[in-house]
Symmetry: C2
Subunit: 340 residues, 2 copies
DNA sequence: CTCTCCTCTGGAACCGGTTCCATGTTTCCA
DNA sequence: TGGAAACATGGAACCGGTTCCAGAGGAGAG
């Protein structure tokens, strides 16, 4: 018989197989795997050799169970509803890769039901070491539960007073856009934004609020009829814009709550033969990549950076450094291009 | 003393804690958790109640270790280099959500080094139950290794003879685009595509090959000088287009290997005052969402569907249904808009 | 009344790592 | 030469599930 009993069948080798073949204890193999200095060179070499020979790969699941950490962070977001979310995700992924160590578990949320599922699933204590929530506001109850379970959570593009978050001042953003248009001499300014959704995205409404504030400050009374809201998306924005442009006394400028919607405005203008910027000035929000192609004037928010910053806050929390429910504000600037 | 010893400290309750409190064995608790019929109603109720009282959540890591499955699939892709990848990912995520059960572990690859890391990481037997590789060609060695480790793999938008894959016929795509332009009367047709990269993306070159074939078939000799290649991206495409348009005898039509590059062509044309489509016809490839906004004529490939289909093949492979190294071809059609 | 058969149950063994403890071996100094 | 300190090592116990096996109890058949 073989003095070193071979593994039965062709199951993947385990740390014990390695130990047996290398004639050392499992502890030594584990120490070699983890680069512990407490191993003689001789043993280290023998173990390494055996690992290669057997084609051994440690089981990350077993490691996770033993360590009590998953080395994964969850990202919950409505990925495909908004272009800007993809850009934020990019910041998240890049920063996380720089740090090494953590993998990204993706949870896309497009419906209310999925939303509940996602939070439910992640609340499960040990699936991820931390959670990044983008553009979705968790309920007080959900927050309480995550805190009870000791799950570190950071929000991006959405606020909750009990959680650390990276956001922008949407009201200010609306003001900035409006002031830009006012400075260009416009006084009749339309708005195309999101209708309220059960998700409670609030950005669009806050931006509109900022617009109204800026108008009032300039002595102009906001006109409700000039403010149109619909589902988020280019197609819907086209329709809303058509209605604005078909008015008896149409606006000379439109502030769109997002670049995607601004694209809809541009498309509607083109379809109706309205020249931009001569007959209609258009300003968007976000500065996604296509904005440059289209020459869209827009309010830039640093999407990628907010993703990256969210990761940093989350890793701090995971690694035990205290992170209170701080709010970080990202900066906003108007990028002037050809549409306004 | 308490007849039922309480857990020490405030560690999360385990299945044994539940068993103790409910005065049943761990086996019964496990059976309740997994909806086994082999449990009396009385025991089931008692266990459920205890679970609620203790706020017990099963550890998915422990479950994974015990089951030998991770219930996760890995997706390796160069996410942010190409708009089309995001759209494919969308198909992947949506289909996977329909099926429930599996989570998505994301691996973004933007550099060669990351590429090696990603395959290395995933080759680790137990991290994921299956792997979806998008737009990245694994080497023979990498493929051999994954097969040795028994990891199911499906490719999307890239081919390898040993693996199941969902692709398009890029040569045919090039032919279709070219024939469309030929039918419009163009004979001097330029090309803007990707320079060869160490990743070995081959689509662009194959599409160019299709173009040349179509030209020859129409009795036109392809002109190398009209075929420009550069890094993938809008900016680079602008530069390439500038050079094409600055030629003594510029092309009257340009076929861009992707919509992103077609956008660059449009931008260059606008900058140089070249009218589209009067002076220059432009056709792209992919039909990403922005193509509609820009009115870009393009060759549509069903991006989302290929992602979804890839998931189906992968799940079949994971669940043990034999999936040979089949090749599935997605359909291609020209979407006529305003640029050609 | 006994013998099956079926339902339900408890708990040990297992999945594959990490860690800690007890023990052995060297080294070095008094 | 004795003994402490430092290093190296093997292996049991542990992480928290699942599963299998043996056995208890009850119902039904002969």
């Amino acid at each position: 018989m073989d003095p070193v009993p071979t593994r039965r069948g062709n199951a993947a080798p385990t740390i014990r197989d390695v130990a047996r073949h290398a004639k050392v204890g499992v502890g030594t193999v584990s120490r070699v795997l983890n680069d512990s200095p407490l191993v003689s060179d001789e043993a280290r070499v023998r173990v390494r050799k055996t690992i290669d020979e057997l084609g051994y790969r440690p089981s990350s699941t077993a490691r996770r169970l033993s360590l009590g950490r998953t080395q994964m962070i969850g990202v919950v977001a409505p990925f495909f509803t908004t272009r800007s979310v993809v850009e934020r995700l990019r910041g998240v992924v890049e920063r996380l890769r720089d740090r090494g160590e953590y993998d990204v578990l993706l949870f896309d949320v497009e419906t209310l039901e999925q939303r509940a599922d996602a939070f439910e699933a992640f609340a499960a204590r040990d699936r991820v070491d931390g959670l990044l929530i983008v553009s979705l506001r968790p309920s007080d109850e959900e927050v309480a539960r995550m805190q009870r379970e000791g799950l570190p959570v950071v929000l991006i593009d959405v606020a909750h007073r009990a959680l650390p978050r990276v956001v922008i001042d949407d009201v200010l953003g609306g003001e900035i856009a409006t002031e830009y248009l006012l400075a260009k001499g416009h006084t009749r300014i339309g708005f195309v934004g999101d209708a309220p959704t059960p998700f409670g995205f609030a950005s669009s409404e806050l931006r509109c609020h900022g617009m109204r504030a800026a108008l009032r400050r300039a002595g102009i009374r906001p006109v409700a009829a000039l403010q149109k809201r619909g589902a988020h998306g280019r197609e819907e924005a086209i329709e809303l814009s058509r209605r604005l442009l078909a008015m008896e006394d149409p606006p000379t400028a439109i502030f769109a709550a997002s670049d995607v919607q601004a694209m809809g405005v541009l498309q509607a203008a083109e379809a109706l033969g309205v020249r931009v910027p001569e007959d209609l000035a258009v300003i968007g929000f976000d500065d996604v990549e296509e904005a440059a192609v289209l020459g869209l004037t827009t309010v830039r928010q640093p999407l990628r950076e907010t993703g990256a910053r969210g990761v940093e806050l989350l890793l701090s929390a995971i690694e035990g450094r205290e992170v209170g429910p701080v709010e970080e504000l990202a900066s906003l600037t108007v990028i002037e291009r050809r549409t306004a």
